[in-house]
Structures are given as C-alpha cells and as structure tokens.
C-alpha cells in the first residue's frame, strides 16, 4: 500500500468530521473487492457489504465501502451535487481515499450519485473504441433493490454473460429518463457505462454487457426499444 501525501487536491479536509473507515483496511477492502467482482461477473445478483458501522453523511453502507475499496489517488471522482456539497462526505473521501474530485462527470473514473441527482448518461465517459475500459463507472444510491419484479413498474429482465437464463432486477427510485437511456446505451456496445446500484448494505451491478429488457408493464421503454430495433 502506498501512502500518497501529495494529493492533487489541496482543499481542506475538516478533521472534526473524520470518521473511521474499515477496521482492517487490507482484509476488508479485499472482501468488498471480491463482492464487487462477483456482482459484476454475475449481473443482477444482490450481494451484502456490511463491514462498517457508520457512514459519512448521505452515503449508505455499500457505497461507502465501495468507495473505500476502489477509490484512490489515481481515480477521479465525480459526486452528485448533494454529496459534493456535504463536507462530511468530501472530507472523509479525501482523507481515506485521497481521491481527486472533478466537476465534470465526463472526466470521472467513478461517478457517485444519489438516484434523484443522476447525471445524464451521455455526459459520462463511455470509453473509446481502442479503450472501452476507460469509461466511467457509475455508482448509484437507490432506495431499494430486489430481484422480485412482478408487481414493479421499475423492473428489468436481465440476460447476457454471467446470467444462465434470465434474472429479474428492480432498483427503486431511478428516474424514467435514466432507465430509458440505459436501455438505449446497449446499442453502442462495447462503449458504455457500467453501473453499480447500492441500497443500504446491498449492492448489485449492471455492466454494459448485460442486455436489459423492461418488464412487461413498462410500455414506454418497451415500445421505444421495439421501434428502434425495427
């Protein structure tokens, strides 16, 4: 582990707001990394990351733990307005991760957003043909995630690599326009944005390789995708 004293950011960290990160930084980060890896390789699988007691400000457990695990001095972070305006969140991220913050989502390696403050998908970095891996990874805090989609307006049916047949997923609180953009973004594969949805201590990943079909009662999206497929 390298200690980076010279961070790109010289903004003040408020020491009175700092709180503890992982109990055991190395072991716990590896545990959470393993969960994110499993979530990404088996899209739609809901995993639990419950290694911390307290989280800074509006961050929930899983997004705070992902931040502690994946963010470092080499990853540029974009925060949605509420998070970026919260000294507790910013001070703790700077202290524990030393991550540089950027004001434009397109520059970010990771974008961390509340569900009602999502950036437009097109403003994120989708990577380029030579390096599709350089895209932004979007981490979204949502109210709840579940694999039960029967009675949900917000349900998806996922297919693709890592899913044997199909898997239901519903992330509550995502705006309609975002869900529409996400479905449409699949047409630009291999370019795109990988998403992780975090609800309390649960997390689920939706990489760009996963095909999304809206569940049946979501007419808007289904019609749009059908039209464009024709």
């Amino acid at each position: 582990m390298s200690v980076q004293v010279n961070s790109m950011n010289r903004g003040a960290v408020r020491s009175d707001l700092l709180m503890a990160g992982f109990d055991d930084a190395v072991q716990d980060a590896q545990k959470v990394f393993r969960k994110v890896l499993k979530a990404m390789s088996e899209p739609g699988t809901i995993l639990t990351a419950d290694l911390t007691d307290k989280t800074p400000g509006a961050l929930n457990k899983s997004s705070w733990e992902i931040a502690l695990t994946l963010f470092d001095a080499d990853t540029k972070i974009w925060l949605s307005p509420t998070l970026a305006g919260d000294d507790v969140v910013v001070s703790n991220l700077r202290f524990h991760c030393q991550c540089p913050m950027v004001s434009e989502p397109a520059e970010a390696d990771f974008a961390l957003a509340l569900a009602d403050e999502l950036p437009e998908l097109k403003t994120l970095n989708w990577g380029n043909s030579e390096y599709p891996d350089q895209s932004t990874t979007l981490i979204v805090q949502v109210e709840a995630i579940t694999n039960q989609v029967q009675d949900s307006d917000e349900g998806w049916c996922l297919t693709g690599p890592g899913i044997e047949t199909e898997r239901g997923l519903s992330a509550k609180g995502l705006p309609y326009s975002f869900r529409l953009d996400l479905v449409n973004s699949r047409k630009r594969f291999p370019l795109g944005v990988d998403c992780v949805f975090c609800a309390d201590d649960q997390l689920v990943a939706l990489p760009r390789s996963t095909e999304i079909k809206p569940s049946d009662n979501e007419d808007g999206i289904r019609n749009t995708t059908q039209q464009e497929a024709n």
Binding site: V5, S15, L18, A20, G21, D24, A25
Partner: protein, 153 residues
C-alpha cells in the same frame, strides 16, 4: 486566520515535529512515565507506506524527486473529540500511535501544559543534544582549505 489560530497552528507544528523526530525508545519511555491512558478510536490504523521526497538544488532550483522513503502514519480520535495525527519516518507502528495520541492530547487544554513540560521539552532537549553531538563530531574533522597567494610579480 486570526493571530491566535496561527500561533496554535505553529505550536502544533512544533510538537508534531518533535514527536515525529524523537527517538522511538525515548518517546515510549517518556510516554509510559506519564501513565496516561486516554480512550481513543482509530480513524486510520497505523499503516506503513512510501512517500516520495522532493528536493531543490540549492533550495531554489527545479524540484526533483530525491527518492522514496518509508513512512508510518496514524490518526486517532479521543473520546473528547480531538483528532491526533502522525507521520513518522520508518516502520515503527507503536511510535506512530503514541505520536498521534500525544498530538490529540496536546490539543486538549487540560493536558497541554503538562505534556509540553514532561514530554515535548525533554524529547526536544534530546534532539538538540543529539544534533549538537553530531555537529561536534563533524566539525572535529573539518578541514580549512585555503590558497596561498602566488607571488606572480
């Protein structure tokens, strides 16, 4: 920043510097002699890493990377709420923890005077003595070079 904030900041810089540079054994001995056992929580457990040291030739040239050095750092929060940090050269985690605890306690007015007198002052005296000894050793081997004026005419 007000004058008193500036003063307390430089005072803190001073004791952090003494705590970091102090001999590990001397620090532990002095600390244990004080018999203070504050209640604390780790914000950052002592961890060892590398930091790049940068220098300037003659103090004014272009900055260059001198090399990496091992560093141990630690941050603790006392029950009273004050946060202590330490960055210590080397790999001694106990030193980093003690230095962070001392930094946190020194910010507490109840402990400040006693700790300054019984911890910082003796450690600083040792540092000054060690420095003087080293300088004396070095100056004993000093050679004065001088050039004789040649009788050109």
């Amino acid at each position: 920043m007000t004058m008193s904030e500036q003063q307390s900041k430089s005072a803190r810089q001073h004791w952090i510097s003494v705590l970091a540079k102090a001999d590990s054994k001397a620090l532990q001995d002095q600390w244990q002699a004080l018999a203070i056992e504050p209640e604390y929580q780790f914000i950052r457990k002592p961890e060892i890493g590398l930091t790049m040291m940068r220098g300037r030739v003659g103090g004014s040239g272009q900055p260059f990377n001198l090399g990496e050095m091992t560093l141990t750092r630690c941050a603790v929060r006392l029950a009273s709420g004050s946060l202590g940090v330490s960055y210590v050269a080397g790999r001694n985690k106990a030193h980093a923890l003690t230095a962070a605890l001392a930094d946190a306690l020194l910010q507490d007015r109840d402990y400040q005077v006693a700790l300054q007198e019984q911890l910082i002052a003796p450690l600083e005296a040792q540092l000054v003595a060690a420095k003087a000894e080293r300088e004396a050793k070095a100056s004993a081997t000093k050679v004065d070079f001088f050039t004789l004026v040649r009788g050109e005419d």
